[in-house]
């Protein structure tokens, strides 16, 4: 560890001692083995070439990156970002009121509502996705319900369309938006909102100038948790979208499971990680500006 220079007086408490490192060791080990080392392997592979059985040959080349920037794959990246962005916006619109209400509810009710948000996690993700197939399919629950109600609407042809993909994505990621916003809303100081009203703000003004900025860290965290995984999701596009339009997650999966092209898959993965880092930096900047 770098020793503190005399010019920089640091109190003993802020310098991690050996005990702190010992406590951190399992975490550091975990990060090293499952994040840092695989990340390095991915990075190295992305500059290699492939052989006929899908092995990796250590010949330095930029070809994989050149291919990533081929219009074919750029368009897929753009489409994936579009879907993920739409999912994030819908999650904020639906999730914010829910999270705010839970955060302001009485403690007993709050715990019950939080439990309801988390109940879906008790079942496997794939089973829940198949449940949506049962609802949306041509002769499924939604269409039979509409037919039985005799409302004159439907039947809808939803399954295997982009709409179904967005429904699946919003459903899968909504809890990841609700929980961080709830965290911010719960901590919200009521007296600040009262102060806004006392100073003459209407409900809209109080919401936009006081409540939203104060819950911004929750929204930012939720956006990160929804947007980034939604870009890479491939199971929902396969199962509910009929695998008709490839997303970047599908393309990466194909490189490893069909095309025997690990280096290209690795290059796509590296670009993907860079996008994650970029989103994170942008959100961090936003966050620090709004708290400043």
């Amino acid at each position: 560890m770098p020793a503190a220079t005399p010019a920089l007086p640091v109190s003993d408490h802020s310098r991690p001692g050996w005990k702190a490192w010992a406590l951190l060791a399992p975490m550091v080990f975990w990060l090293l083995v499952f994040v840092v080392i695989p990340g390095i392997i991915l990075f190295v592979y992305s500059f290699c070439e492939r052989d006929e059985v899908g092995g990796v040959i250590f010949n330095f080349s930029f070809d994989n990156y050149r291919r990533v920037f081929d219009p074919v794959y750029l368009r897929i990246f753009a489409r994936s970002i579009g879907y993920a962005g739409l999912t994030t916006v819908i999650c904020v619109v639906i999730g914010y009121p829910v999270a705010y209400y839970i955060g302001r509810a009485s403690e007993e009710l709050r715990n019950r509502l939080l439990l309801l948000v988390m109940v879906p996690f008790w079942t496997s993700f794939l089973i829940r996705t198949y449940a949506w197939i049962t609802i949306l399919k041509q002769e499924g629950m939604l269409n039979s319900f509409l037919a039985a109600m005799n409302l004159g609407i439907g039947p809808f042809n939803l399954l295997y369309t982009p709409t179904a993909v967005v429904i699946g994505l919003v459903y899968a990621y909504l809890p990841f938006m609700i929980l961080p916003i709830y965290g911010s809303a719960e901590k919200l100081d009521n007296s600040l909102i009262e102060a806004a009203y006392d100073l003459g703000a209407g409900p809209i003004r109080a919401f936009s100038s006081v409540i939203v900025p104060l819950t911004m860290p929750g929204i930012a965290a939720g956006t990160l948790l929804v947007f980034v995984p939604a870009i890479g999701m491939f199971a929902i596009t396969d199962l509910m979208g009929g695998a008709k339009v490839p997303m970047i997650g599908n393309v990466i999966q194909n490189q490893f499971l069909q095309a025997r092209d690990w280096p290209f898959g690795a290059a796509l993965g590296v670009i993907f990680m860079l996008m994650f880092a970029l989103t994170y930096v942008i959100l961090q900047r936003r966050g620090s500006r709004s708290t400043a």
Partner: protein
């Protein structure tokens, strides 16, 4: 007291399994949803050899695991073209026919296929084809080949395998080109055909294409024969047709990696699977084409009448390894799918 007893019981069970030495075990690496557990249990109760069963979902997954140096497997189950690469690379051990008396049950036509012409390294497990399944209640037109399926009329009424090489193969067949000789020129010719086809498809699904047909979301599929056979068992309205232009046949094999530790037990399990009464269990559960002619004699007339399991005439061809052309195919289909 009760918990202590339970703990001791659990401990003794643990020690009991740990006592088995390596000689009593065989490590099998096979396709998921393909080998019934009762077959493995039957083998263990008869021989005392424990089967450690791990599964994979694609040939590429198997290859990459073995290339990465997984030497722990005694039996693997590659498809024809993957077995071909493995033989060429010296990854498989030659089989000892003296230890496989039940080999005589396997039909001769399945023993001399291009991936292993002398049948030295592989034994066929199950075979099948990729063909057209038609819901005859919804589709009245005669369907004979790919050209009858991929029509504007059937737009959004089709399910096909989500497998890029399969789709390109059908296009090559419809053009009368070789399916195993992938060149830039042949891909250029296939490109406009595939481009038209992907626009017509509603669902791409390799895992369970029968679902979309059963649910009524689509009326025609180009799918694995095993899936079509299950559909026919469910409802006789689902007809199976081998495409007139030509079809792909696949042979899934059993073989022993060169690095296997327990080749003796591996031979025993392979021979056990080739017993007629054992092979019949597999056919009952997974209605593919059984290459085991002695086992076919034990099947019911209804099983044998299933047109997807046992098509009348079968001139289908197997895939050969195409090496790095797999990446060209992947790019072509990805490009066309995303251009919609």
């Amino acid at each position: 007291m009760k918990t202590l007893k339970a703990l001791l019981l659990a401990l003794s069970a643990l020690l009991g399994t740990a006592r088995l030495t390596a000689a009593d075990e065989v490590n099998l690496f096979g396709w998921s949803e393909y080998i019934p557990q009762e077959v493995l249990d039957g083998f263990t109760s008869e021989t005392g050899i424990k089967v450690n069963f791990e599964t994979y979902a694609s040939n590429e997954e198997l290859l990459s695991k073995l290339v990465a140096g997984g030497g722990a497997y005694d039996i693997v189950q590659p498809s024809d073209y993957t077995a071909e690469v493995m033989i060429r690379r010296g990854m498989l051990a030659p089989l000892d026919p003296a230890k496989l008396p039940n080999l005589r049950n396997i039909g001769a036509q399945f023993r001399s296929l291009p991936h292993d012409p002398q049948g030295k390294f592989t034994v066929p497990y199950m075979t099948g084809t990729v063909g057209i399944v038609v819901n005859t209640e919804k589709v009245k037109d005669p369907i004979k080949g790919y050209k009858d399926v991929f029509k504007e009329k059937f737009k959004d009424r089709l399910v096909v395998l989500n497998d890029n090489r399969e789709i390109v193969t059908w296009a090559l067949y419809s053009l009368g080109l070789s399916i195993n000789d992938i060149t830039p020129a042949s891909l250029a010719k296939a490109r406009p055909v595939v481009a038209n086809w992907v626009k017509l498809v509603k669902v791409f699904d390799s895992d369970s294409p029968k679902t979309a047909l059963l649910n009524g979301d689509v009326d025609i599929g180009v799918v694995w024969s095993g899936e079509a056979a299950l559909l026919w068992n469910e409802n006789k309205k689902f007809h199976y047709v081998l495409p007139a232009e030509g079809a792909h046949m696949f042979v899934d094999t059993l073989c022993i990696p060169a690095s296997a530790k327990n080749k003796d037990a591996a031979h025993k399990l392979i021979d056990y699977i080739m017993r007629p009464e054992v092979s019949k269990i597999i056919s009952d559960k997974f209605p593919y084409t059984n290459p085991n002619l002695a086992a076919r004699k034990l099947l019911t007339p209804e099983q044998l009448a299933n047109p997807a399991s046992y098509p009348a005439s079968n001139t289908a061809r197997t895939f050969r390894d195409i090496g790095t052309a797999a990446a060209d195919i992947d790019k072509l289909v990805t490009d066309l799918k995303s251009a919609q």
